[in-house]
Symmetry: C2
C-alpha cells in the first residue's frame, strides 16, 4: 500500500481528555476518532487492526464447531420482560421507542434473543449440542465512558451461546471454549491469563475471565506461580489461617489516640505492627440490619465476598454510625457495642488475632491488648471477607499467591437453565420427556482487545503491535525519493516484490523528512521497517530494523524479502 493512497492521521499530541496510554496512542496514531461520549469511528488504520482480530476470532470459533449468525441490534422489549431483565438490567440498557411507540433496546447482550430463536428451532435432543456466535456492534450506556475503546458505549463484541441436553455436554463445550479462547489470545500475540471469576449480573454458575496482563489493568488477579490457580481478586479465596489464636496479652487498656483514625496511623502512633490493629467497618444490609465487619489492619474488605453474606451491602453513613454506635466515626470497634443489636462478622484472619488494638467507639480513643472471649464476645460469624494479598497461601494448597493486574477481554459462563427456564426453552429427551435446555455463553470484547494489546505492547515512542494484529507488517521508508530516481525506482520495485510475497507493506512515499516518516512508523507500531537511501544503495544495501530493536542492520537489497520472511515467521 502506498501511503499517499492510504489515510494516515497521526498527531503530535493527544487530546487532553485521554488518560490511558492506549487511548492516547490510538488517537495519536489515528486509529480512532471520537464522535461523541463513548462513540468512536474506526479510521482505516485502526480498522485494519480490528478486522485482523475479528478474523482470528472467527477462524477459531469456526474451528471449534460454533456456527456464526447475526442477530438484530434492536431488540423488542417483550423478550427482556420475559426474563425480568427489562427492569433489572439498569440504565446501561439503551431503551428506544419506535414510531409506533413500541419499546425496544439496543442490545447490550443477546441471551434473550438467542433463547427465543432456540425455543423455536430446538425440538429434540438429536439437535443438541449447538453453539451459535456472532461478531456484532453492542451498546451499553456507561454512565462515565472513558479510556477510549477500552470502556466505550458502542463496541464490537463476539458473543456465543451454547445449548445442551445435560450438564456434561455443557461442561464439555465450556472446556472447548476455554481452549478456543486460549488459542485466540495466543494467536493474537498477547500475554493473558484465564482466571476463575464471579458470575455477576449475567447469572448462572461457573465462570472464567480472560485477562490481558498489563500494569494499567482495572482488575487485580491472584495467581499461583507453582500451579494453574488464577482468580479475579473479587473471587480468590483467602484461606483460613492454620494458626490458632495466641494466648491473651496484658489487660485491656484504653489509650488516647488524638486525630488517629486510620489503622496505619494508629499502629505508628502506638508503636505496634499494623497486623496488631483491628479494622472495623459498619455496614448495613438492604433490609437495614447493621453489621460490624472486622479485618486485620493490613487487609482490605472484599465487597463481592461480603455482598454474598449480606444482601445489598453498603457502608453506613456518618449519621447512621452516630445513631447506631455514637460519636465513633473513625474510632469504631467491637468492644462494648450495644448488646444484641449489631451482628459482628470477623474475617478468618481477624478472628485469630490476639492482644490487638481497636477503636473504642469514642472520639480519639482506642483499646489496647484486646482479647476475644475475655474483653468481648466471640464474633457472631467468622467468614472470608478480605482480598487476598501476595504471599497468601494458594487455595489449591500448592504454593503462595502473587498479584498482577489485567484487562478483561473475555468471559465464559455456564448459564445452566437460568434463561431456558424463564423463556420455556425445552427439548424432548430420549424418553420423550420435556426438559429445560442447559446453556453456556462466551464473550470476547473484540474492540477492547485493540486497547488492551496496546497497554501491553508499547514504549515511549508509540505502539509495538504483535505481528498478527499490526495494521501493516512492514514499513518501507524511502529517503529523498523526490530527488533520487534510483531511490524511487528501487522502493517501488521492493514494494511490489514484498506485496507479491504476501507481506503487508506500507510504503511511505510522501517524500517527507526522514524523522517524520520514522516516528510515524514507530507510533503506528509496525513491527519491521526497511529504510532505503541513496548512500546505502551505492553499496547495494538497505537498513532493516525491528520495532523493538535498539538499532538497525545493513543488509543487501537482494536479501530483504528472505530476511523479512524470517523475522515475520519468528515474530
Amino acid at each position: 500500500m502506498h501511503l499517499s493512497r492510504f489515510f494516515i492521521g497521526t498527531l503530535k499530541e493527544a487530546p487532553a481528555e485521554a488518560e490511558l496510554v492506549s487511548h492516547r496512542l490510538m488517537l495519536r496514531a489515528g486509529l480512532i476518532r471520537r464522535l461523541g461520549s463513548g462513540l468512536y469511528t474506526w479510521m482505516p488504520m485502526g480498522l485494519r487492526v480490528l478486522r485482523k482480530i475479528e478474523h482470528i476470532v472467527r477462524e477459531e470459533m469456526n474451528r471449534s464447531g460454533a456456527l456464526e449468525v447475526l442477530m438484530p441490534t434492536v431488540i423488542p422489549a417483550e423478550l427482556w420482560q420475559e426474563t425480568g431483565r427489562w427492569d433489572k438490567f439498569g440504565p446501561q440498557m439503551l431503551k428506544i421507542r419506535d414510531r409506533h411507540d413500541r419499546d425496544f433496546c439496543y442490545g447490550p447482550t443477546h441471551e434473550e434473543v438467542i433463547s427465543d430463536i432456540a425455543r423455536r428451532e430446538i425440538r429434540s435432543y438429536r439437535q443438541l449440542p449447538l453453539n451459535f456466535y456472532q461478531i456484532q456492534t453492542k451498546f451499553r450506556d456507561e454512565i462515565r465512558p472513558r479510556f477510549g475503546v477500552m470502556r466505550a458505549r458502542e463496541f464490537v463484541m463476539k458473543d456465543a451461546y451454547s445449548f445442551h441436553a445435560d450438564l456434561a455436554s455443557l461442561e464439555k463445550t465450556y472446556g472447548v471454549m476455554v481452549e478456543t479462547y486460549s488459542r485466540i489470545f495466543t494467536r493474537l500475540g498477547l500475554r493473558f491469563r484465564a482466571v476463575a471469576a464471579d458470575t455477576g449480573a449475567i447469572g448462572g454458575s461457573g465462570s472464567h475471565e480472560f485477562h490481558v496482563l498489563a500494569d494499567s489493568g482495572e482488575d487485580a488477579i491472584a495467581f499461583c506461580p507453582q500451579s494453574d490457580y488464577a482468580a479475579n481478586i473479587e473471587l480468590a479465596e483467602a484461606v483460613a489461617p492454620a494458626a490458632t489464636r495466641a494466648d491473651p496479652g496484658p489487660l485491656l487498656e484504653k489509650v488516647a489516640t488524638p486525630d488517629t483514625t486510620r489503622c496505619a496511623h494508629v499502629a505508628q502512633y502506638l508503636g505496634v505492627p499494623l497486623t496488631q490493629v483491628m479494622k472495623s467497618l459498619l455496614v448495613l444490609s438492604s433490609a437495614g440490619h447493621p453489621y460490624l465487619l472486622l479485618l486485620r489492619g493490613d487487609h482490605e474488605l472484599n465487597e463481592v465476598k461480603a455482598g454474598k453474606l449480606i444482601e445489598g451491602l453498603r457502608l453506613a453513613t456518618d449519621a447512621e454510625i452516630q445513631a447506631l454506635v455514637g460519636p465513633a466515626k473513625g474510632y469504631l470497634g467491637p468492644v462494648g457495642l450495644p448488646a444484641g443489636h449489631i451482628t459482628v462478622v470477623a474475617d478468618h484472619t481477624a478472628a485469630v488475632m490476639s492482644d490487638f488494638v481497636c477503636g473504642a467507639n469514642a472520639a480519639d480513643q482506642h483499646w489496647q491488648h484486646v482479647h476475644f472471649g475475655r474483653d468481648l464476645p466471640e464474633p457472631d460469624q467468622v467468614a472470608d471477607l478480605r482480598n487476598v494479598v501476595a504471599g497468601d497461601p494458594s487455595p489449591d494448597g500448592r504454593g503462595t499467591l502473587e498479584i498482577c493486574r489485567g484487562i478483561e477481554v473475555g468471559h465464559v459462563f455456564q448459564l445452566r437453565t437460568k434463561y431456558s427456564e424463564a423463556m420455556s426453552l425445552q427439548y424432548l429427551d430420549e424418553t420423550g420427556q420435556s426438559r429445560p435446555v442447559e446453556m453456556g455463553c462466551y464473550g470476547i470484547g473484540v474492540s477492547r482487545i485493540v486497547a488492551a494489546a496496546i497497554e501491553q505492547h508499547h514504549d515511549e515512542r508509540g505502539i509495538c503491535f504483535p505481528r498478527a494484529i499490526a495494521p501493516f507488517e512492514v514499513a518501507l521508508v524511502a529517503i529523498g525519493l523526490g530527488k533520487s530516481p534510483r531511490v524511487r525506482e528501487t522502493a517501488e520495485m521492493l514494494h511490489e516484490t514484498l506485496a507479491q510475497a504476501g507481506i503487508e507493506v506500507l510504503f511511505d512515499d510522501r517524500d517527507e523528512r526522514l524523522g517524520v516518516m520514522l516516528s510515524d512508523q514507530e507510533l503506528l507500531g509496525i513491527p519491521l521497517r526497511v529504510v532505503i537511501g541513496d548512500r546505502g544503495l551505492q553499496e547495494g544495501m538497505v537498513e532493516l530494523q525491528g520495532r523493538r530493536d535498539p538499532s538497525g542492520e545493513k543488509i543487501p537489497l537482494a536479501e530483504v524479502v528472505m530476511r523479512l520472511q524470517e523475522k515475520l515467521a519468528l515474530a
Copy 2:
C-alpha cells in the same frame, strides 16, 4: 461441512405473512428468522450468503482505492441539526435518548458523520481526493416493513463518501464507482441495469441507481435496447412529440356520460380512442395554489416530475374540488374554469391533442370535439408531466423505449457541496484560498441483495443461487449411509477430497430419505449436487446434477473433482 454439524432450518411452509417469493423462500430455506417487525436474524446458512456478498463488495471497493472505516451506529443529534435533517428526515429516523437525556439517532445514513470527520482531517487540496466506505448495520423505521430483508428496518448497507477539490475530480471518482458497482453486480452473478435516477431526499445533482432485474421489482425502468439509455421511470424524460396539433374537428358539444368517470370508460362509452380523451387532475401546491394537470387519457401522471414544477404537490380532496370547481368530481376538465384562478399545465402530448373529449366540470357530463384556442385558452404551461411508456422515443434519439422492472440495490450520487457548505467542510486550494469540498456518496443495500438475487434466481422448487453467493457450491448427498459402510466411507472420502480442492461442499450425512435431502438441496439453491448410492458405486459411478438441469448424469467417481471444477468455473 457435515450437515449434522451445521444448522439447517428448512420448512415445508412459509409463514402466512410472507408475500414475496424471496421472503417465502428465505424463511423456508432457513436463511433468516423473524425477531420482530422488520427485524431478522441471519441464520448460519443465510449469513454465509450475506458474508459472500460483503466480501465481494469489500474487495471491489478496496480495488477502487476506497478506504474502509467503521463509524458509530449511534449518532449525536447535533450533527443532524447542523444540516437541518434532524427535523427534515422524518419518522424513518429512529431517535434515541440516552441516560443523560441527550438526543441521538440510530444512523439511517452517514453523510453528517463522515463530513464531521472530514472537516477535522482535511486541510489541504494535497489530501484530496479521498473515498471512505463502511459496511454497517443501518436502521430506518419504515412505517410498514415487509417483504423480509427486502424492506427491513435493520439492514446491512455499504455506504461510501468521497471528497474532492473540484467537480472534475468528483466526476472521475463517480465514474470509477459506477464501474466498480458494475463489477460487483457482475461478480455476484446478477442481471442488472444502471439507470439515471432522481436524487430524492439525499440531495445533490447527478445520480444513478443500480437495479437487479426481476418481474417483482418495485421500480419500473425505462431503457432503450438500441443504446445505453436507462432511467428510473420516475426520471425518464418523455420526449415532446414532433407532431403539431391537428386542425380543429367539429364544433364543441356537451354529451351526457352517466356514471362514466374513468377515461377508459368514457372512450368506450363514446366510441372514441382512449388517446382522444383528456385526463384532468386537480392538485394543490403546499402554498395552496390550485393547478389543473392535463394528460392524454392513456398516460399516467409522474409525480416526481410534477413535484419539481409544483412544490409540495398533492391531489385535491373531494371538498377542495367542490369548493374550487363545483360538483365536478370525476368530470373535471379545462373548459370553463373559474377565470385566472386555476393554473392549467398540460403535458407535452396533451398539449398537441385536437378534437378531444374532456370532463365538463359537472356530474355525468363531458365535452366532445374540444380544441385549444377555440373552446378554451391555450394551457398556461406545457411540460413533461407523464411516465414514459413502451414505444416512446428514447431521449437520446437512438431508438424506442422498453419498460422492465427492477429492485434497487445500489445508488450513487454527486452530492456536490450540499453537506460541505452546511457543515463548513472546506479545504485550502493551491493559492491558499478556502473552498467547500465537493462530495459524492455511493450506497449498496448489501442485505437486500440476497432477496433481490432470489427474486431473479428461483424456480418452483426453491432458490437457484448464482455460484458466487450460494451458501455452499456443492451438495453431497449419500443414500443410505447408515446401512452401507461403502457409501459412508466413499462419501466421507469425497467430502474430504472436495474440501481439500477448495470446493465448498455441504455433506448431507443425516441419513434422511433421499427425497428430503434432494428437496432441501433444491430449496437452498446449492448450484451442484453429487448423489452417492450403493447401486452406482458398484459400477464406480455417482450422479452429478446442476440445480437448473432437468436431469443428472452418471460420471465415474474418479472424475468428480475435475467435473465439479469445470462446472464451477463456468457457473
